[in-house]
């Protein structure tokens, strides 16, 4: 099955000091930039559009199309302003862990992508907004950025072309909301991170009220490969509407958790095979296709193609492709409670449904988890989710309801059991933890 993998972004991760410029250049690094410098900006946009690259941050919006929204005509609104590229590296979705290893092992591929994307949208200033907690990533990116400046890949005269691209690596302060693109922009501008009203959309009035493209790390890092390999090569991987390769992050009750770079459309069954299967004696109970904000799926979805359409058809979302796998020892109520506590903690507070709803949901889930649920609690949870989903200011409120509604859909019995039996009795935590030895020690 090893040939299922398509290591592109991860192709040199095992190299000696893979994160250095030398190592990256040795694996053809920055050759795509050379090519891109000979292309007109519109050609780069068209290339990415034709390749069918879709945003890897969760929503799957076509990257090339996003770039084409940037007004380049000085007559059109915002067209006279500077353009900005902002890379969203505020990876904070529970279960999601692809961008951080990518930036650790292969920062130059991201930087090359940044330069190419900046050329494409005619931005002279780009930013990478990195989650504040991951200081080691910030340091590695800054070191790579410095190397790129020294080599002339960044700066006032990119590789002697006369084109300017500057890059700032900006450390956030660790708020989940700052992964929401407009909150990220507010935070980048030095304000408190809370989502902005749309319209105006960032493509017209983004950073500093100027046209701005905000892309996920993986999306931007995939661009050099597309320039190197071309549209046909990229399209040879993946499915009709979800083209190319991507990083699947396998975690939970599997033998070999980690990053698996494979064509879009691979199934969890295949990925589990690659990952050595579930831990011994375990059987799959439920899993998330793309982090905690995507509705959970179960064993019956093992053969769902993991692309945007396939997962959507199964009633969930591909999201960040963070495959959290849980076996039969896991209490779904406890798991959902933990996730909901996360949303409550991370709700920015701007809108009522998310702020107050998560506060309330946690309290209902807590008593179900403690076996002290009341009659009607399940219906209450569902109704509260209905009052939050689609009513909140940004998608984070929606995301907070997904695990609850999907968990009740698949495991209503366990919630009903919360009326009389604590989850710890039904599913002793020690059995489900991967670190039982450490916990009991």
């Amino acid at each position: 099955m090893a040939d299922t993998l398509t290591p592109v972004l991860s192709r040199g991760w095992a190299d000696e000091r893979s994160w250095t410029r030398e190592a990256y250049e040795a694996r053809d690094g920055y050759s795509a930039l050379r090519t891109a410098l000979d292309m007109a900006p519109e050609e780069i946009v068209a290339l990415v559009k034709d390749a069918g690259l879709r945003g890897r941050g969760g929503a799957g919006f076509p990257t090339g199309m996003k770039w084409s929204f940037i007004p380049q005509d000085t007559e059109s609104p915002g067209g006279g302003n500077p353009k900005y590229l902002v890379v969203n590296a505020d990876e904070s979705e529970p279960g999601t862990c692809k961008d951080i290893p990518l930036m650790m092992a292969n920062p130059h591929e991201l930087i090359e992508g940044v330069v190419i994307a900046s050329l494409a949208i005619r931005a002279e200033q780009a930013f990478v907004y990195v989650r504040g907690e991951v200081l080691h990533v910030v340091r590695r990116l800054r070191a790579a950025c410095r190397e790129a400046y020294e080599a002339g890949y960044l700066g006032a005269d990119v590789m002697g072309s006369g084109r300017r691209v500057d890059l700032v690596i900006h450390a956030g302060a660790g708020a989940y909301i700052c992964g929401e693109e407009t909150a990220l922009l507010d935070s980048l501008e030095g304000r408190r991170g809370q989502p902005r009203l749309r319209p105006p959309f960032p493509a017209v009035e983004g950073l500093y009220a100027s046209p701005t493209v905000i892309n996920n790390v993986e999306s931007i890092a995939s661009v050099p490969a597309i320039v190197r390999g071309g549209v046909d090569w990229f399209g040879s991987m993946g499915t009709e509407k979800s083209k190319g390769f991507t990083l699947y992050s396998l975690s939970g009750h599997v033998k070999r958790p980690g990053q698996y770079e494979a064509p879009l459309g691979i199934t969890l069954r295949e990925l589990l095979d690659l990952g050595g299967g579930l831990r011994d004696g375990a059987e799959l109970k439920f899993w998330t296709p793309g982090g905690s904000s995507t509705p959970i799926l179960t064993a019956e979805h093992l053969d769902v193609p993991l692309d945007y359409e396939g997962v959507g058809a199964a009633g969930s979302m591909l999201g960040t492709k963070a495959l959290q796998v849980f076996d039969q020892t896991t209490s779904v109520v406890r798991c959902v409670l933990r996730w909901t506590e996360f949303y409550k903690h991370e709700s920015c507070g701007k809108c009522t449904p998310c702020r107050e709803g998560t506060w309330w949901l946690v309290q209902v889930l807590q008593r179900l988890d403690a076996g002290q649920g009341r009659e009607g609690d399940v219906e209450l949870l569902l109704d509260l989710c209905d009052n939050i989903l689609g009513r909140s200011f940004c998608a984070l409120g929606d995301g907070a309801t997904s695990p609850i509604t999907s968990a009740i859909q698949h495991f209503r019995d366990e919630f009903e059991a919360g009326m009389h039996t604590p989850s710890a009795e039904l599913f002793p935590p020690a059995a489900s933890t991967l670190f039982a030895a450490e916990v009991s020690a």
Binding site: A175, I177, R192, L197, K344, H345, E346, S347, C348, G349, K350, C351, T352, P353, R355, E356, G357, T358, W359, W360, Q363, V364, L380, D383, L384, D386, N387, I388, G390, R391, S392, F393
Partner: protein, 825 residues
């Protein structure tokens, strides 16, 4: 010119037709759905939405269903109608016709109440609370929330005047948006996250601020308080009881209050207010809603400073000086009026009248008629602060009966030039409109001594002028084509402050500037009655309705209207001349209205005059230096106890009704009519309404006006060593007597600081931040210092914040004072 011409013409409004609950409605393009719905009679519940604030879409209470956005496709989710603009063909379903919208609204309402305490029975807002009301109209009957509510210690003092109850807050951000967008004082902001999100104040950058004054919860230490001149508005627009007034907290319930619309008496803006009283006591004042004047905002002074008229020194009965003991003793009204008349008859032909600048137009008119008809003199002047003949000529030529500029024009003017006027301190309502204009592209410039906070908040450019040299600065503006300097043209407005009276040539230069550029002029005095006094002829050279004293035809017109043989033809004395004449015995009696001696240009001369005059009649609300020197004291009603009309700086009439019916509280009109009748020369009216009728019958003068002054700008003066020129004005919150009784409000005053350039301070050996003293031969005043962009050799100090500069130093805007390091010795 074509661009300007097209902006001048009224462009027809583009209308958009949409359907709301199956009713078709056409509204101007850009209208928000929530307001379009109001037009079809549907009130969509809302908290964060406020028509005068930018949309935010935070509370999610106003969700509606939009099955068709106008493009044939609908929104899959309910939409916030407060952020959604109408589109042609849009179909909107509100709670009236959409179960989805109704459920969404009920859901949000229930969530809003999750963390809201059930303290409505003791909450100030209970009974007038949008949350309470909308929970009843758009909520579930009962909450399903039986869990634990979030709690906070309460209340938290965000300033001495404004208390915050964080538990009650629904985080709509109206207060923070008001402070940032309208007032320009972003001293409160949302902090923290999720359900712990709260309104907060920041750490102090000023060690003197708030740290030494514990908050209501006992907290202290370096917080920067919400010291905005407009902070009270946040209390009023708070849709719950989260922000409360420290003075009003727990004082009364809305349903016990009787509300009367009125007009604020603190400045010349005429802000609409609502006065709420209970059993004869005013409990609070709120902003009224008048789009032409103050929109929905008032200054903290207009809101909080209303207890001045019920202080212990309030005069309740007439007083007459006992010839034997020399003491003032209570007298009956008929007795006091007779005594006043007797004294004035004695001094016949030698009486001066100082009505003061705080009267209603009717009361001022009564003084004007009283002087001319009963006393047969033009020795009347309302000006109780520095004044000049140039100013009088300017007022007669360009102000009386002129209505060239309205508050709303400040939103559409190309440029607004402020000269000798600090609107944030002297005309807060005007300031807010100016700020609104500046946020929409109106250019603001100021001929002033330095860049004030107020000027910075309107993005204004400073045209530096040393005090007394404003005229040269105005003459230096030479752009008639709107291209250079500050872009003055026919769509510009020049606002002139009253302290230009102490700057020779300034009014003349302003007239020249207006003629050169086509810009419109307006005079913005500080006091509520100033403009009314100009209109009613409380000036030595001007009769009511802009009739010049020197014009025989105007006098004849007036005499006919008043039914008297003639009106005195001799031009009268101005305030200072009246006082000087009284001190020298040339005038034997004075009739004085609401005048503070320390406010007069020369307080020492005024005291001398009051002592020297044989007979002084004082019409006052409260005891003062004048009443103490008077022979007859006639108590008159404060605005709250009478009806009347203030005339704003625009010339707009602002009639208001009586709030409190206090028997025996008489208007100046009634009192003056009584004296006049005793003198056998009736005014022709006895009531406020009668005075207004008389004024209306009289009408404005349509004959030739007095020529505008045209004095040359004076030569620049170089102060001698150790001396500096003083720039000063009165701040909004200061020690003025109309703010008495409001200690919490007064605690929000800006810190009294002396400002000067670094070089000026260095020359005097003062380290910035250290205390410095300014002094004259009469006295001295010490302030901490701060560096500002004043020209060298000029210092600025507040007029009446800690020290009354005019009273204590005899110093005024443009005076020369000595600057020394350290405190007063």
């Amino acid at each position: 010119m074509t661009v300007e011409a097209s902006r001048e013409t009224q462009t027809p409004v583009d209308l958009v037709t949409l359907s709301i609950d199956d009713v078709e409605v056409s509204v101007p393009k850009g209208t928000l759905v929530i307001r379009a719905a109001e037009l079809v009679g549907t009130e969509i519940p809302r908290f964060c939405d406020h028509p005068l604030l930018e949309p935010v879409g935070a509370c999610r209470q106003c969700l509606v269903e939009v099955p068709d956005a106008g493009n044939g496709r609908g929104f899959p989710k309910p939409q916030a109608s407060c952020t959604l603009e109408v589109a042609p063909g849009m179909v909107v379903r509100t709670q009236v016709t959409s179960p989805v919208a109704e459920k969404a609204q009920h859901g949000t309402m229930e969530l809003l109440l999750v963390n809201h305490p059930l303290d409505c029975p003791v909450c100030d807002k209970g009974g007038e609370c949008p949350l309470q009301n909308q929970a009843m109209s758009h909520g579930r009957g009962e909450s399903r929330f039986a869990e634990t509510k979030r709690t906070f210690p309460k209340p938290l003092a965000v300033s001495e005047q404004v208390l915050l109850d964080r538990e009650r807050c629904v985080l709509c951000a109206r207060c923070t948006r008001f402070s940032e967008q309208v007032a320009g004082d972003p001293f409160i902001a949302l902090v923290e996250r999720g359900a712990r999100q709260q309104v907060g104040i920041g750490p102090s950058t000023d060690e003197q601020a708030f740290g030494d004054r514990p908050g209501a919860d006992g907290s202290s230490g370096g917080a920067q308080p919400f010291h905005s001149y407009f902070s009270g508005n946040t209390i009023q627009i708070c849709p719950v009881g989260a922000l409360t007034s420290a003075d009003y907290r727990f004082r009364s319930r809305p349903f016990d209050l009787v509300s009367t619309p009125s007009v604020a008496e603190h400045d010349a803006c005429g802000a609409a207010i609502r006065v709420d009283h209970r059993r004869g006591t005013v409990m609070r004042r709120l902003a009224g809603d008048d789009p032409e004047v103050n929109e929905e905002w008032v200054t903290d002074k207009d809101r909080f400073a209303f207890t001045w008229s019920r202080q212990d020194d309030r005069l309740r009965t007439p007083l007459v000086r006992d010839p034997d003991t020399g003491e003032l003793v209570p007298a009956s009204w008929p007795g006091a009026l007779a005594a006043a008349a007797a004294g004035l008859r004695e001094a016949a032909g030698k009486v001066g009248v100082l009505p003061g600048g705080r009267l209603t137009a009717e009361d001022a008119y009564a003084y004007s008629v009283f002087a001319r008809v009963a006393l047969r003199t033009n020795d009347i002047d309302f000006r109780t602060r520095p004044h000049s003949a140039e100013e009088a000529a300017f007022l007669a030529a360009r102000v009386a009966t002129v209505q060239d500029v309205a508050t709303r024009d400040l939103e559409t003017a190309s440029t607004v030039l402020l000269v000798g006027l600090e609107p944030e301190d002297e005309a807060g309502t005007l300031f807010l409109r100016l700020r609104k204009g500046s946020r929409h592209g109106v250019r603001v410039a100021a001929v002033a001594s330095h860049t004030t906070r107020g000027l910075a908040k309107v993005g204004g450019e400073l045209l530096t002028a040393r005090p007394g040299e404003e005229a040269s600065a105005l003459d230096a503006i030479q752009d008639s084509d709107g291209s250079a300097d500050v872009g003055l043209d026919a769509r510009s407005v020049v606002l002139l402050g009253e302290r230009l009276a102490s700057s020779p040539g300034a009014f003349s230069a302003a007239v020249r500037l207006a003629e050169r550029t086509g810009a419109r002029l307006a005079w913005v005095p500080r006091r509520a009655g100033d403009r009314g006094a100009v209109e009613t002829g409380c000036l030595p050279t001007l009769l009511p309705g802009a009739r010049p004293v020197g014009d025989a035809e105007a006098r004849a017109d007036l005499a006919a209207a008043w039914g008297v043989r003639s009106v005195p033809a001799k031009a009268g004395r101005d305030t200072t001349s009246i006082l000087r004449a009284a001190a020298r015995g040339q005038l034997r009696a004075l009739v004085v209205g609401g005048v503070e001696v320390d406010d007069l240009p020369d307080p020492a001369l005024a005291r001398e005059a009051l002592a020297a005059a044989d007979f002084v009649v004082s019409l006052e609300v409260r005891e003062s230096d004048v009443t103490r020197a008077a022979d007859v004291v006639l108590p008159v009603a404060p605005p709250v106890e009478k009806s009347g009309t203030f005339v704003t700086w625009e010339g707009r009439l602002r009639p208001f009704g009586r709030v409190l019916d206090v028997p025996g509280s008489l208007t100046d009109v009634r009192v003056l009519a009584g004296i006049a009748e005793e003198l056998g020369a009736p005014l022709g009216f006895r009531t406020t309404a009668g005075a207004m009728r008389s004024m209306a019958d009289l009408g404005p003068w349509d004959g030739e006006r007095v020529a505008a002054p045209d004095l040359a700008a004076p030569e620049a003066k170089e102060p001698r060593g150790g001396e500096v020129v003083l720039a000063t004005w009165r701040q909004l919150v200061d020690d003025g007597r109309l703010q008495d009784g409001q200690d919490r409000y007064r605690a929000t005053a800006r810190r009294a600081v002396l400002k000067a350039s670094a070089a000026t301070l260095a020359a005097a050996g003062v380290e910035p931040g250290d205390v410095a003293t300014i002094s004259t031969d009469l006295g001295s005043a010490s302030f901490p210092t701060a560096v500002a962009d004043l020209p060298d050799g000029v210092v600025w100090a507040p007029g009446n914040n800690g020290v009354h500069l005019r009273g204590a130093l005899g110093a005024d805007h443009g005076s020369t004072v000595r600057l020394t390091a350290g405190g007063a010795s």
